[in-house]
């Protein structure tokens, strides 16, 4: 699949934003005071909204994006749009109440945390529902999205609390969170090795219905140039460098944040360092998400010569 920058930015950034919103809502310790009550939710909202706005950049008609709120009964994309807006509105009210009273309303926060997690789940389901892309069509896809989102949110929330608290104990849980999230991604990668169009029963023979006669090979494409389908769904560059890019993703997204979090925990350092861990994790996730798209094979490639297309 074509790895569109706007969609990579959307899934990573709004994932992190909703992760932080979930952590704030769930009542993670954060600095007190009006500045904290404004800037921390503003950062969370900014990440979530920047991601959502970026997702409209790949639309052919962004001015009609509001129409996407209408089909929540059948479409995951529509559901995600609706729930993200509801969650953000509730989060705005929560923030307003926090700024005015200095108190965080726990029941509303928990509701927002559930809304955030469900929004991320729905984002992932846009991809996981695709039978045409066997790599994505697994329950591990939403699990990875959710774990990365919550890990991003936890690192950032624990990091920002470093302004108020000297306790380094949250770094221990950060280590666990990073390890669990990447363990899930490792399982996803392992599964992707055994899932393919062929394993799902789709071959050039089933695509053409000519399998009962013999082995099928593409002799000629319908046209000499490229088309929308080959641009959008037949992307082979990612597969070529997949191994190297995985190492880069693991080094930035897993090894470095783990080292930082372990360091904070071992040396009882300030959890402010976890903000740095968050930034390198995000960098790693951009590479991971690029691979998520670039490595994925779409069934239509079978009409364009299969793996060699």
């Amino acid at each position: 699949m074509h790895p569109a920058i706007s969609v990579i930015f959307f899934t990573v950034t709004s994932g992190a934003g909703f992760g932080l919103i979930a952590m704030i809502g769930a009542g993670m310790p954060l600095p007190n005071g009006l500045a904290a009550a404004f800037f921390i939710p503003a950062l969370a909202g900014l990440l979530a909204v920047a991601g959502l706005i970026s997702s409209t950049f790949h639309l052919g008609h962004p001015e009609r994006a509001w129409r996407a709120f209408s089909q929540w009964r059948s479409s995951w994309l529509s559901r995600e749009g609706v729930l993200s807006v509801i969650t953000l509105i509730l989060f705005g009210l929560y923030t307003l109440a926090w700024m005015i009273s200095g108190e965080r309303i726990l029941w509303l926060g928990l509701l927002i945390a559930i809304g955030s997690a469900l929004t991320v789940y729905m984002t992932a389901m846009i991809y996981a529902q695709m039978k045409t892309v066997p790599h994505w069509h697994t329950g591990l896809t939403p699990l990875c999205y959710l774990l990365f989102s919550l890990t991003c949110g936890y690192l950032l929330a624990a990091g920002l609390n470093g302004f108020a608290s000297g306790a380094s104990s949250p770094a221990g849980l950060a280590v666990v969170a990073i390890a669990i999230a990447w363990a899930c991604k490792y399982a996803w990668w392992k599964q992707a090795e055994t899932t393919s169009l062929e394993a799902a029963g789709s071959t050039m023979e089933s695509a053409t219905g000519l399998g009962s006669i013999g082995k099928v090979r593409l002799l000629e494409r319908p046209h000499t140039g490229e088309n929308y389908l080959t641009h959008e769904m037949i992307h082979v560059v990612g597969r070529k460098h997949a191994a190297k890019l995985r190492i880069i993703a693991l080094a930035l997204g897993a090894a470095l944040p783990l080292l930082i979090a372990l360091g904070v925990w071992a040396f009882a350092a300030s959890t402010l360092w976890l903000v740095l861990a968050f930034i390198v994790l995000m960098a790693g996730l951009f590479v991971e998400r690029w691979l998520f798209f670039a490595e994925a094979e779409h069934a239509v490639s079978l009409y364009y010569g299969g793996r060699e297309a």
Partner: protein, 247 residues
């Protein structure tokens, strides 16, 4: 509404005869000609005379080579357009309601004024039946020439999809699959019409007729020329011997 209808009154679609198709691309040309001036936005081409031409088409012809175990390979021209699936995944993913399947005849259509051009329906389709128009930025797909088949302003023989009307080989047939007595239902029954990628669970309406088995020569050896075994005589015999001596 992007929920699919439980049932459709008719199931209009195409039968494509892979035995008969000669790969002339006439159906593509007539499809583009009719649909660029018909339903919805025109079908654009970018850089048509340049080095990287791209454009939107509702129908494309691939050419495959199929190699049986015990016979020479043969060429199969393979026209492909929307299969108007009964369980169309492109419809349910649509976030705006622009994509829909009609309950009266089963045609899958896009209301272009509601399409936001997100491209998700094209991802959901295993057949590559949907293409984004590069100029209008809305999703284009086969309409089964909905503006021809019911059009009382054109002669009756023209009230069928442009691709069917133009096919010089008679490889394309249009009809109602819900009627067992229709021309298309009979063709499918007689010739063993098949679904493309049935494992995707899309329940396509369009059916493909596989190529008829090729007549095979009586014995395998007669398929290739016999090796020359007899010794030539006369001048050729002398030449043969003389050249042999030269080593």
């Amino acid at each position: 509404m992007t929920s699919l209808p439980q049932t459709t009154d008719k199931a209009l679609g195409l039968v494509i005869d892979l035995d008969t198709c000669v790969g002339c691309h006439a159906c593509i040309i007539n499809c583009k000609e009719w649909n660029t001036g018909g339903y919805g936005a025109p079908l654009a081409d970018l850089d048509p005379y340049g080095t990287e031409p791209v454009g939107s088409f509702l129908n494309r012809i691939h050419t495959f080579e199929v190699s049986p175990d015990n016979a020479p390979a043969s060429i199969v021209h393979f026209p492909k357009s929307c299969l108007h699936c009964a369980d169309a995944p492109c419809v349910t993913v649509c976030p705006t309601g622009a994509s829909y399947k009609r309950s009266e005849d089963g045609i899958v259509l896009v209301d272009e004024s509601m399409c936001i051009g997100c491209g998700l329906c094209a991802w959901a389709c295993p057949y590559g039946a949907r293409e984004m128009d590069p100029v209008e930025n809305v999703m284009k797909k086969c309409t089964l020439c909905v503006d021809r088949i019911y059009n009382e302003n054109i002669p009756e023989e023209d009230r069928q999809p442009a691709c069917v009307r133009t096919c010089p080989a008679g490889a394309r047939h249009f009809g109602d699959f819900s009627d067992p007595a229709s021309n298309v239902s009979k063709l499918v029954a007689e010739r063993g019409g098949i679904d493309l990628m049935p494992e995707m669970g899309t329940a396509p309406v369009n059916k493909y007729l596989p190529p008829r088995p090729k007549t095979k020569p009586e014995s395998a050896s007669s398929a290739t020329a016999e090796a020359v075994t007899e010794k030539p005589g006369g001048f050729l015999g002398w030449l043969d011997q003389a050249l042999e001596k030269l080593g």
